[in-house]
Symmetry: D2
């Protein structure tokens, strides 16, 4: 059994990791940490875990945590992650980091959107953990930067088009919407039930959301040249889910049928990407609690524009599910182990 | 007191009309109709109305209805409206029709998107009732075609840009999302609580939603030439509200400040359009139950693209509220009468 | 025009007062206070108010506030209210206090459930503002203690039975459920969207909720002897509404028809209490945004037990709506002024 | 591998069975039926199942279904079940029936609350499948009547008290609330999103809900004498979950600590019953998607009354999860197989 620590286990992605790993046959969670709830049993904090996990939350001391586990998930805010990850690596641990700290390959870009990077040399050692695009490079890697939720939905949605060079790179608009778990578990007025419920809004409009450079980095790698996009996130009154509606102009006229064939081929061997039959469209409800990404590409006949709709569960394929998928790849377990359950619906 | 009939009072827009008119000092609702609930008291059907309205729902017989009221709101499905409106007009009644039947000026376009029109000659007599664009032509008119919900949010969002000729007309994308009242009150599996709740999805993707020609008709009139757009509706798990996030490429570079000035000027005398201060963004929660349309225009500095976000309550400014506003204009009442309440929040 | 101050206007009951009073023809809101948001425009804090109220929130200095308004609503937490109300009274102002500070007639009881009372002499000057039970004593009064939300729903539900001495006083159980606005607008993890959504729970079980003594005080006054009850509150994932399902054993066998007659008679002249027709049951959805209290009394034939179901909007009849009703009575305005709108549904 | 048929797979409990069984290592679902969707792939009907189950829904012909599977779940409306179960039994199949048809031991009682029973002789052959009370009698049984959702939550909540003879049998009141999946997947106006959302209501008040005789049958068996209760169901705007708040008068004074000990002992070996630590209370959110029943017993010190709060997921422990638990017992699989996952939260 692989011993695993979940660092930052009092947030939603940390809880989700513990939930998934409870059903993983090759893993034993041996350590959970939380600054704000240290000393408390995790099943007192999250009563869903009663009868499933009775670990006591600990303070985050990297050396002690490393003594308890061989594989470490860091589910921390950005900056907090890069303060401890180097110690884990030095002590020979494998790490999947769910923060933004190792996603951007360029320390300057990180500095411009977040703050000065504390260990920029690690950016080259880390691999951006989107298995569908670089499974081989993840295998055996010591540090995996787990992708953000919006980027996962958008990059998977656009990858076939960019790989094939089919669209005008200046034309990309990604209009995305997220459930409220995306805002985390911090006590803020903006995240109160009555502030969020029965309302739909855009936020971070105009290219200011921090996922923008991450999305553009990956799209640029796929396109082979610099891509700049318009990305607009929205907030939906629901717990989980991200749906991205992505617009792009084709370089030459195409059809929905051609796109369906392209996407089906591109993702034919992917266990977690479902290209929907023509005429079907994704809903976040159909991936809730699962690690699937559902995608429908089509053409607006009247304008010729390509529209791709993709849906994931932001806590699963958008965070903890993908992190476990990455762990499976790093460790040589079957990639779907612990993740092969359909969504909970309703 | 003006006597008013609400034809089709067992749906959500019909109920909303009765609710609004209960607080209108110059109006008395004297007749309500419903095919499926005829013979039932309306406050048995909608217990919210107990103590406010105890009319009995009647079958829709245009002559009898005309004998009871001088002003008629038709809140019927398309086709059902054009079967009765001519009779109301012949009998000298004023009509605000909330269906799609008189919104499109061209009977052929109507035929292509709906079905053959039964009284195409009335299309020229009807006025498309968006007060902010043609208040003068609504005044005194016998037949007002009340705009659709999506079109109201999109046309108000784009009008200043089109009037000033500032954008590339081929670049317009409207990404909109609606609450579930937009699907009406018919018993369908797709509208069940458990099918809709905790899910977000796109529908009618690719230029097939019937509001498309209506939107394009109005945008074309504003632009002075034919406009074709990409319009994608989404469904949000909430009762009320439409938010449109609209993208367009400017013909020459502009700034958020310039747009703010343009919009504030354009709508400076409008009682129901609120151009938000820079830095603020609309939410459907802030217009719920009110007749306001909140708008924020801005520029994505990284791509130069213009983004306009607009929000309305689909049952109010998107349907019944705007219908009452039109009635006020037609009849010479103060335009905000019965409509001057802020939103219900939370 | 009566000048009115809303003290504590950054919470939900404060906002609701401003919303209601905007539609009150005899009132002008001239002052709004908030400690946490002083200096901010209230319509920046609550964008629903744009175009309706542009006052700047002030710090709470009682003398300055008294200089701006003749009637004062205190929508403060308990304790904070009794720190300022005496000054308002000394300066000759009329006060409706929405906190718990003047609801309990006995300072010792207040001390046992809250803390030591700062001005116990005022407890006798205050009137408990449930108009249906003591309208005459409210009229002209300087200090009205506005009832709590749960007590309003339970006391109105039981009043006819207690007045008539029909039930075993030891048998009363009130099982109530509230929407989330009842928890206020403070930033707490427990009130986050994702903590509350899609869950239903009991809280304060076993006679520990602070509304218990208030409920018992009023029931005892009605019964003419001490009443002790079991009261269990629950939390429902919705914004507004309280529904109480109340159980009691009759002293002698009765029927639903007899209860219907009793209740209809008891409340026959009440503008805001709707005794539903037999066979109908209340829903919080049917009173949302309105000042109505809907009540259905009936008998469980199999056990002989009486069951009364009552529903209110906790922010309206359970707080701000009732406060305005009390203001109307104190000032001699028509009791329904500003409050005569049906619920917003859906 | 055990071959399994899910009869009635187009409803929510049918879908839930398919979802659970997908993760069950000893089972293969080989047949799914649906009258309204026969001929359609089940993953077209429920896109959550894409990549997990691609069976085509068939008409319900018992002989053909029996040819495809050795174990049969009937997830049908009442009456429809008793029309086919005898055939399954005759053909030697094991059946867990999720309808009400075999839950009541007395055909006359069934006749009074439902309709005339078609095969009353089977009532004695069926076992009421609440494993915590009669695990031994379920083992190997050909026909298991899977308990209703409300009864499961109430009977598990009261069993220790009744077994020990601690309460006044005339004093029991069960106040329960359910999520909307409890209303099924039929297209009814009452179950529409906008009719249910943002509202909380009681229904079936006064001893008329069909689960009443089932609850009383089980309570009576536990008590050793006839028990009559007051049971009030409510509807909560959420997908899943039932919470019951149960009131009873003790025969002699007791304490929360004594009850905690009683319940912990009674359920000490039960894998799916979690007696919560003192001070904790159940929420439906903490059992969502899991097979757990969470229970908190306590005493209202002021009245001496016992209050028990219990929570389940109505589709899991209240239906399909318990059905799989029963299958495991019937077939000799480990009882928790396929069911050992914690809840999905948020």
């Amino acid at each position: 059994m692989l011993t695993v620590a979940v660092v930052g286990a009092s947030g939603y992605t940390g809880l989700e990791l513990v939930r998934i790993l409870h059903g993983h046959p090759e893993v034993s969670v041996t350590c959970v940490t939380s600054e704000r709830s240290a000393g408390k049993r995790i099943d007192d904090l999250f009563p869903t875990l009663r009868g499933c996990c009775d670990l006591v939350l600990e303070n985050l001391e990297p050396v002690r945590v490393s003594g308890k586990a061989d594989f470490i998930f860091t589910a921390l805010p950005h900056k907090a992650a890069m303060e401890v990850v180097p110690t884990f690596l030095t002590l020979g641990k494998k790490v999947v980091d769910l923060s933004a700290d190792y996603r951007l390959g360029d320390a300057e870009v990180y500095g411009a959107w977040y703050e000065q990077h504390l260990n920029p040399h690690l950016l080259q050692e880390a691999v951006y953990g989107l298995p569908e695009l670089r499974r081989d490079r993840i295998s055996g890697r010591a540090l995996v930067a787990n992708p953000g939720c919006y980027p996962t939905s958008i990059v998977l949605g656009l990858a076939p088009l960019l790989k094939e060079g089919l669209i005008d790179l200046k034309s990309i608009i990604a209009d995305s919407a997220s459930g409220v778990t995306g805002a985390g578990r911090a006590a803020k007025v903006d995240s109160l039930y009555c502030e969020v419920n029965e309302g739909y809004k855009a936020y971070g409009v105009g290219g200011v959301h921090r996922h923008t450079p991450e999305i553009e980095q990956e799209l640029s790698l796929l396109a082979g040249e610099q891509v700049t996009i318009t990305f607009t996130p929205h907030l939906v009154p629901m717990d989980r889910g991200i749906l991205s509606t992505i617009y792009a102009s084709p370089l030459k006229q195409t059809t929905t049928a051609e796109l369906a064939e392209l996407y089906s081929g591109f993702y034919s061997r992917e266990p977690f990407v479902r290209v929907l039959p023509q005429g079907s469209l994704p809903s976040t409800a159909f991936v809730r609690g699962s690690n699937f990404c559902d995608i429908s590409p089509l053409v607006d006949k009247r304008t010729g524009r390509i529209i791709v709709v993709s849906a994931i569960d932001n806590l699963m394929k958008g965070a903890s599910g993908q992190a476990v998928q990455n762990m499976n790849i790093v460790c040589g377990f079957p990639e779907t182990m612990g993740l092969d359950r359909p969504a909970l619906f309703p």
